[in-house]
Structures are given as C-alpha cells and as structure tokens.
C-alpha cells in the first residue's frame, strides 16, 4: 500500500467538509493532513469515496480555506493515538496532543481510536458494587464496575458537582485494585473544566487521571474525536495495564451537535430534530466500549453527562442514550429549585445492572427489598401529593397522607445530602429503614418478613404498626 500521497485537487469546501477530485487509492476512514496557503496544518478524515472523488471531514473546521491553496496529504492509516502509562496525570487536547507544560509522550504503542467491538462471548457481566457515597445512587440506582450510567441533566443543574463527587468518592468495598480516571471534555466552558481539574488536583486524583479537553471555543468537529481518544486510552489502561478506569464524558450533547453539523453539510436525510438516522449506532460505538472482559483484571465504567435540551427526556440525544446505556440518573429542576442537592429524580432514574451488584455478600441481604419498597412508597406518595394539590389534603385517605409525609421526608433526608457527605451503604440502608418506619409494617409488601423482623427500627415500630 502507498503510504502517503499529496493532492492539490480540492474543488469544494462546505461546512466542515472538503471535496477533492482526481484522487487515487485512498481508503475509507483514512487520516489526512491538510495545509492551507499560509502553512497552517489541520487534520481530516475520509468520509466517503466515490470513484476519484473524496470527501474529507476537517476536525479543526474549514475557516480560511481556499480550495486552490489546499494541499491534502493522505497518510495511509486511520486515526490513531499513541498510548503509554505516562499519560496519567497529563492534559491533552481533543486530538490527543499534549497541552500542559510537560514533555511529549513517548508512546508504547499506537492504537486505532475507533477500537473494535468486544466479542459478546468475551464479556464478563459487571457485578461489582461501586460505593459512590450517594444514597440515591448506591441504594436505589447502584453503579457497578463496567457499567455505563449517564447523567441526564439540564442547563444550570449541578451535574458537574455530582460527577465530581462520584469521581472523588467512588470506591469498591474490600479492594485495593489500581484505578484511573479519564476525563473527556467536549465543548464545555473553561470554568467547568477548571472546576474538575481543580477538584482532581485538590484530592490528589490528578496523578491518576488523563484529561482530554475540548472547550466551548475549540473546534466543534474535534469533539467527534474526543470520546474515541478517551476510550482508546481507557481500553489500554484497563485491558493491558489492569486498571479500573472511570471515564467521565461531558457533555455528549455537544458531541451530537457536531455529528449533526457534518450530517447537515452532507445533506443526509435527517432523522428526528435534524440529527442523523445513524445517531443511535454512532453513540453505541462510544457507550458500548464500557465493560469487563473475562480473564482480564481491569474494567471501564462510563459516566457520560448529557444536558437535555429544554429538560426533555424524549429529545433524541437522551432518548437514544437511554436506549444504549445501562440506566440513567436523571436530575430534576424542581428538586434543584427547592434546594435539594443532589437533585436526583429518583422515579425515572434507573440502574439496570443493580440486581447483580447488590445483596448478601455484596452490599446487604435486604438491599433489593428495601430499594423496591422505597420506590413503590415514594411513587405512591408523589401521586397522593399531586392529588392533594388538586383536591386538598382532605381528599386523601389517612394512609395516603402518611405516604405524603413519607415522600417529603424521603426527599429531605434521603435524597438530600452534602456535596462532601460520603455515606456508606450501611448508612444509606439505615436511613432507608428509618423512612420506611413512617409506614405501618403491613404496607411493606415488597419486603420479606425476616428482613422486617431484623431491620425494622425498633423505636418507631410499635406506634407505626398499630395505626
């Protein structure tokens, strides 16, 4: 194969795309080097080939391009990243170029950033409980190693604080495995990025972190590369260096907008709200890179952040994400307005992998029962509260009133916690039981008798049960 050829045959520039003619022997996905008239260099990738016409997507955008001045060099390989353990503690741009003051990385090897799908036969089921110290996650939406659990947020909601708190507090009970954090910023503000970096620095996590940063004023198309750089690094650290890697991807909404921009420039038939029909498939090639592999020690856990446009869960970005990820943590604006931190909207939140990560030997025997009961009771309380808003409290049965009280206490005592409050799973369970004791025992249909006997708090039991 020819390794590198240079062409000056660019004919069209539109959006982030350049179209060349009379090109030979290029391949799909090939990386290109583009130099402009004034010698500036940008990166591109082959998006489509038709005969001798080639469409190239330019990561740093096409501003300042004049077709006749462009020199396009095809590099004979796909997009690659040079990886090494020395990446820990370092900061890179969205394309994997060093941007801190440190030395260049000497790669141990080069990896294609698109990765390859994990053979489903090789996957190991994620089942190791990660304690995040946050009750609404640990007890109700349990995170496990190798899971992809996104945070669905809205603009102005404290997702950055929650994500940082998880990164800070997350640990696996009884384990001293090696871990690393990979932080991939896509189009977020300088302040938000600084908040994370500062937090990592303060807690000493920076030494075990790799940062890829594309800020709001960095080239938008580069955001397509960012998660792939991050996950390629994660795969290397997890599967070759035995590390448990937590990957924070923020904000996928900006990533999807970059995809939409390319799709629009290609005049593709748009799917819902102008996003391309292949958005689902594209997102899955990011999210499905989380996981564990049989016989390998490391794991990749993903925490993608999505700001839902207009807080709308049915918007294509959160919607398609929810269809791929293993649950979602949803943030609630009303809770936030009422001053509850973290404003986790418990009812629509879900961890699909919780069932295999909890119970005797992992968390505690009564965990699943308590979780189901808290959900059912809170749902009933919320319903009753809505009814009371319409009809007044007098319309409620005495039992419904108790559920309303339960729901309020649940939000104030269970959901709410400090940004630096790190609750053990035992703490969260104890709190859960305290709240359930606001209800009579007969209402606890989702809990086995033996657990009620063992864990129902003694002090309130008498009064509550007789009512």
């Amino acid at each position: 194969m020819i390794t590198s050829r240079e062409y000056r045959t660019a004919k069209q520039v539109y959006g982030p795309l350049v179209l060349l003619e009379s090109v030979e022997a290029v391949t799909y996905g090939e990386l290109t080097d583009i130099s402009t008239g004034n010698g500036e260099r940008r990166r591109g990738r082959v998006l489509e080939i038709n005969g001798d016409k080639v469409m190239v997507q330019v990561f740093e955008g096409t501003s300042g391009f004049a077709p006749e001045d462009l020199k396009v060099k095809f590099l004979g390989k796909g997009m690659e990243l040079g990886v090494s353990e020395d990446m820990l503690g370092r900061v890179f741009d969205g394309f994997g170029r060093v941007i801190d003051d440190g030395p260049e990385i000497i790669p141990e090897k080069w990896l294609n950033v698109n990765g390859s799908p994990i053979n489903p036969w090789a996957r190991d089921y994620p089942n190791e409980f990660i304690q995040t110290g946050i009750s609404t996650i640990d007890l109700l939406n349990t995170l496990v190693r190798g899971q992809k659990l996104p945070i669905f947020s809205g603009s102005g909601l404290p997702h950055a604080h929650l994500t940082a708190q998880i990164a800070r507090q997350a640990r696996v009970l009884k384990s001293d495995d090696k871990f690393a954090v990979i932080f991939a910023a896509m189009g977020i503000t300088f302040e938000e990025a600084e908040f994370f970096i500062e937090d990592f620095r303060r807690t000493g996590a920076l030494a075990r972190a790799v940062l890829f940063v594309n800020l709001a004023d960095d080239p938008p198309i580069e955001r397509i590369a960012v998660p792939r750089m991050a996950l390629t690094t994660a795969e290397y650290l997890a599967y070759e260096k035995d590390m448990h890697v937590l990957v924070i991807l923020t904000d996928l909404t900006n990533y999807c907008e970059a995809l939409r921009e390319i799709s629009a420039a290609r005049k593709e038939v748009p799917g819902r709200r102008g996003y391309p029909g292949y958005l689902y498939t594209d997102l899955s090639t990011i999210y499905e890179r989380a996981g564990r592999i049989k016989g390998r020690r490391g794991s990749i856990t993903q925490l993608p952040v999505i700001t839902m446009p207009e807080d709308d869960k049915t918007h294509p970005i959160p919607d398609l994400t929810g269809y791929i990820t293993e649950g979602q943590i949803i943030m609630s604006r009303p809770l936030h307005m009422r001053g509850v931190y973290p404003p986790v909207d418990v009812l629509p939140s879900l961890s699909r992998l919780k069932d295999k990560g909890i119970g005797a030997g992992k968390t505690r025997e009564d965990h699943a029962n308590v979780m189901n009961q808290l959900y059912a009771a809170y749902a009933r309380g919320v319903n009753a509260k809505e009814l009371a808003v319409v009809l007044g409290e007098s319309a409620l049965s005495p039992m419904d009133l108790r559920y309303v009280q339960f729901a309020e206490a649940f939000e104030q005592r269970f959901v709410r916690q400090g940004e630096h409050e790190n609750r053990s799973i035992e703490d969260s369970l104890r709190l859960g039981w305290e709240l359930l004791a606001l209800l009579p025992k007969t209402e606890l249909k989702r809990i086995k008798d033996e657990f009620i006997e063992k864990y129902y708090p003694a002090t309130q039991a008498g009064t509550a049960a007789k009512a």
Partner: protein, 596 residues
C-alpha cells in the same frame, strides 16, 4: 474466483464494478481484508454491496470476490447452545481463535467440524421419501433430538442409510431420485432471505404459556402467534423477552439480540446454563440459540441478524417442534434498513425509513405460524414471533410501531409510569390486547379450570372500573365514593399488586404455572365477592379496608408451585375472617354496593 473492483465506499455501503453475472443477494468478499458483504442493488453494471464488517481501509481499486452463493446459514446439529453474530459466525470460536475483540475478515464455519454426532436412522433402505421426511435423528442436547430431514426438492427411494458417527459433513443417507442419486449430509444450507416451506398453516389453538401472569391470564399469545412489546427505554422490553425465553413452554428458543446491549447477551449466556427448564429440569441453554449483533457491531449485519435467526427457527419448526423467536429490538433492525436505504439514496418514506418498511416487517411476522410441516408423517410445528419495538421517546405513532401493529395479534404496551413506580412487568392492562384470547379461554377452561374465562373477565372488569373510579376520585375525592366502590378499589389494587405485579428477579415469583395463576386470582376474587356480601350484611367499610388476612393474599404469589392446597385454606380463612367482623344492622341501607 471471479472478481470485481471497488469504486465507492460510504460507511457500510460499498460500490463495485466488473462483476457481470453476479446476482442479487449474492455473498461477496470485499477488499484485501475479504470482508463479508452481500449484493443488494444492481444498476447498469454498478453493484451495491452491504458490508457486514467495518469498512475502514477499503478503497477504490481493491478487489471484490464473488462466491456464487446467496447469504445462507448452516442448519444442522450443533446450533443449540450456540452464540452467533448476525451472519452466523460462531462468536465463541472467534473469541478462541481471534481474541476478545471482533477482528475483521475472520471466518469460521457456523457448525463446528470437530464435534462428533451419532446418527440413528428412522427409515430403512428402500423406503420412499419426500421432502421433509425424517431420515433419522441425532441427540443434539439432553433436551433436543435433532431430526435429519430430506432436503427440499428431493424425492425418491432411500438407497443407503445406516447408523453412523461423524461430524456434520458426514453423509447419513443416499436418496435415489429421478435426477440421479442425492447424498444427504447431517447439515444443510439455506438462503436466509427465503422462507422455508410448509405444507399448510392452521389457525393457532394452544397457548404459548410464559409463566408471566399478566400475559397468560390477560393477554395470552398462542403457539404460532405473533406479539410485539413496544415501550420507551427502561420500561421492561428486554426483561419481558428474557422471561419468555426462560419460561415459555416452547421446545426451542431463538433469541436475536439485534442492535442492543452486549451485556444483555452476556447476561443470557451466564444465566441460562444455570436455569433449569421447569418441565425437564435440564439447563435452558440446551434448547436455546443466541444471535448477537449488538448495537456497536456493524449495522448491515444487524439487518441480516433477524433473517439468520428466523431461518434457524423455521428449521426447527420443520422438525415438528414448537419454536419461539424473540427479536430485541425490531426497531434497530428497521433503523439498519433505514441506514442502508439512505446510503443507496432511495426515496425516503416516513421519518427517513424506506417505503418498503411496512412490507418487510409484515413479511417477517408472516414467517410465524402453526403449521403442518413438510413430510409424509404430517407432523405439526409452530413458530411464534415476539418482537420488541423501541419507539423514539416512547411515541407509539412512529412508523415501526404502526407497521408492526398492523400485522401482530398481541400488543403488550409497556408504560413508563408503571415502570417508574416499579410495577413490573409494566404492561398496561388497559391498552394491551390479545386477539388469541377466545382461543386460549377455550383451552384454559378445558385444561386448567372451567371458571378461567369467567374469572378473567371479572378481574378485567374490576381493573377497568378502577380506572373510572380513579378519574372520579381525582374530581371529587375518595370520601365521596360509595362503600362498594371503595371495595372495588381495594380488590383491584390487590389484583394489581398481588397478581399483575411479578418480580422477574425473585426465584419464586419469576414463573407461575397456569394453575397457580388461576388460584391466586380466584382467591382475590373470592375475597371481593365475600366482602361485598359482608358489606351488605352490615359490616363497616373501615373494618374491611384493613384486615390482617391481606398479608396472606399478598404472599400467595410467593407460594411454591406444589403448595396448591394452601389456596383453599386461605379462601376458607378469608370467609372466616369476614364472618368474624362486627355487623351493624343500622347501616344496611347505606352500604349500597355497586357492581363493578
């Protein structure tokens, strides 16, 4: 080998030239990496090929090799317990030979050639046979006897047949036909785009029992029937599909993970070998074939995966088995069609889906049925199809749901409000339906209890009445309801919480036999009827609303399958507990009991 040349690459779609004589749906190998592909359009010497593997590195000038064969699957012993990708590559073997990640151009036969099978003839030399006749059997797993059939189009006299041992390539018989002698191997190949023939179809008559109470009792599916499970993410589509794969009384399960999560396939792979079939006590994996083309695997192979799955399912149906195929999710399959169609620059229909979306979906579900198989023994088989549908934003008006609803007979509508309240399975009992209900009623009345249809109707009426009453409560408050209506609310709540709600992850609750389903419901309805009488006799409503016996009712679903006599005891206790309540003659008039 004949070959052409790549001229165009756009994602999974490759254009080629110089392939004269190649046919529609012929398999090809693309580029130096020899990637799997299939011809899907031919125009003036330009061939469009959908490629089942990632096309990075493919470019103009690279070769395209023809195979002369349509996209086909291997059908023979060794399928059971297997895990395949969308074009039937054995994922366990790929992992063993190529590593933990899927590499391109990897090729391995679907049926392992190392494995030795024992063939036992069922006919003698000299017998006259026609297509579909059973020549003999191979014990494929402890649960499945694999019947080796005379291939399609072969008719004549058995010239040679004997017990043999060998791999799937082994010849088990020779058939003398008009056109010469035809050797029959233990396996055959079949093009996935062509349905396998049957003698005739019948209307379904028997339930495909699932052990899921809301399904078997209220929205049953028949053997040979079709059902769809639409719902937004997190509403429980996959769990419903997994539950059916585990507990339905089909002989064979084909589970197609089409464009969904890798971990869900791993879940099945790890769990099924541990789970025991309720009838035989054998591991469920022994009757299951898995097709996994997860969301991150190439999109064109996702399109093919559904056809691969259904062809395997038809093959076992042809042996006379009842087969159930689950496809999770048909929406991802439709999206794969949309993506390829878009790249072919076809005229888009609704939401960018190709105009033929509806007919493709219909022809998929049309491959279901309760049938008389080919073969002179007139044996019967069935193929039931259950498709999950993943509508964007949970909006049921979108094209894939609509096209599906036009053809399937059972609709299990999943409701995210129920899921949020952790009421599972979140099948909405007010909107779901089954067109097999009268057929199944007849069956259940005969095989379970003559009262089945009546009890079911009573219970459904209560649930519908509950919905009306809830509307009313929203307007006027609970206190305004008559005592009888309050009782209706109580009984329907029991139906919801103690019958419909079923925890898939509880060892006991995960499966309920028809008998036990009937008993639970009958007990709740017994309470309702007896409590109505009690009200009439002057028992006060508040005394009825909180009774210790409720706890027993709530735990009925957790009773063991063999604890059936216990139900009669609980009903006796209910009667006694109600009889023990104080009666006030003065309120008799007030206790106007409205019928649900």
């Amino acid at each position: 080998m004949k070959q052409g040349e790549v001229i165009k690459v756009s994602g999974p779609l490759v254009g080629a030239r110089g392939m004269d004589g190649a046919q529609m749906y012929e398999m090809v190998r693309v580029g130096e990496l020899r990637l799997f592909g299939e011809i899907i359009e031919i125009r003036h010497g330009n061939y469009s090929i959908q490629v089942y593997e990632e096309t990075e590195g493919v470019g103009p000038g690279q070769p395209v090799f023809r195979t002369g064969e349509a996209l086909s699957v291997e059908l023979g012993p060794g399928l059971m317990g297997g895990l395949y990708d969308g074009v039937q590559r054995p994922l366990d073997v790929l992992q063993r030979d190529f590593g933990d990640f899927i590499v391109r151009g990897a090729e391995r036969p679907a049926l392992g050639r190392e494995k030795i099978w024992k063939f036992q003839p069922a006919v003698a030399a000299g017998a006259l046979v026609e297509p579909g006749d059973i020549l003999g059997t191979v014990q494929e797993t402890t649960l499945v006897v694999h019947r080796i059939m005379v291939p399609a189009g072969v008719r004549g006299r058995v010239a040679q047949i004997a017990p043999v041992e060998g791999n799937v390539e082994t010849e088990v018989a020779v058939i003398e036909t008009d056109k010469g002698s035809v050797p029959v191997k233990m396996y055959q190949r079949w093009s996935v785009r062509h349905p396998r023939q049957v003698t005739r179809k019948f209307p379904p008559i028997e339930p495909l029992t699932t052990g899921q109470r809301v399904i078997d009792m209220f929205f049953p599916i028949a053997k040979g029937g079709t059902a769809c499970v639409p719902g937004p993410f997190g509403s429980g589509k996959t769990v419903v599909q997994h539950q059916l794969a585990k507990w339905s009384n089909a002989d064979i399960i084909v589970y197609v993970g089409c464009g969904e999560r890798g971990n869900e396939m791993t879940d099945v792979l790890m769990e099924f070998p541990e789970l025991k079939d309720p009838d035989s006590g054998q591991p469920l994996m022994e009757r299951t074939v898995l097709i996994a083309n997860t969301s991150n695997m190439p999109v064109a192979a996702r399109e093919a995966s559904v056809f691969t799955g259904i062809t395997i399912a038809e093959y076992y149906r042809d042996m006379g088995y009842s087969v159930a195929l689950m496809a999770d999710s048909t929406s991802r399959w439709a999206e794969a069609m949309r993506e390829i169609s878009g790249r072919l620059e076809e005229m888009p229909g609704e939401e960018g889906y190709p105009a033929y979306l509806g007919s493709r979906i219909a022809s998929f579900y049309e491959r279901s049925g309760y049938v008389q198989c080919l073969g002179s023994d007139k044996r019967q088989g069935s193929l039931s199809l259950i498709g999950a549908v993943s509508p964007p934003g949970g909006d049921l008006s979108e094209p894939v749901v609509q096209a599906t609803l036009r053809v399937v007979k059972v609709f299990w509508g999943l409701d995210d409000k129920l899921a949020f309240a952790r009421h599972f399975p979140a099948i909405n009992w007010l909107t779901s339906y089954s067109l097999y209900q009268s057929v199944i009623d007849k069956f259940a009345a005969e095989h379970v209890d003559a009262e089945w249809p009546k009890q079911r109707t009573l219970a459904m009426n209560l649930l519908q009445r509950e919905a009306e009453l809830e509307e009313l409560v929203r307007l006027v408050g609970l206190d305004a309801l008559a005592a009888g209506d309050r009782l209706t609310l109580l009984a329907s709540r029991m139906i919801r919480e103690d019958f419909l709600h079923q925890n898939a992850f509880d060892e006991r609750d995960t499966y309920t036999s028809l008998r036990k389903q009937f008993e639970i419901l009958a007990t709740i309805l017994h309470f309702h009827a007896a409590a109505k009488d009690a009200l009439r006799d002057g028992v006060l409503l508040p005394d009825l609303l909180e009774m210790p016996i409720f706890e027993k009712i709530a735990r009925l679903r957790l009773l063991a399958e063999d604890a059936l006599p216990e139900f009669e005891n609980v009903r006796t206790e209910i009667t006694a507990a109600l009889a023990a309540l104080p009666r006030q003659v003065a309120v008799l008039a007030e206790a106007a009991v409205s019928e649900p």
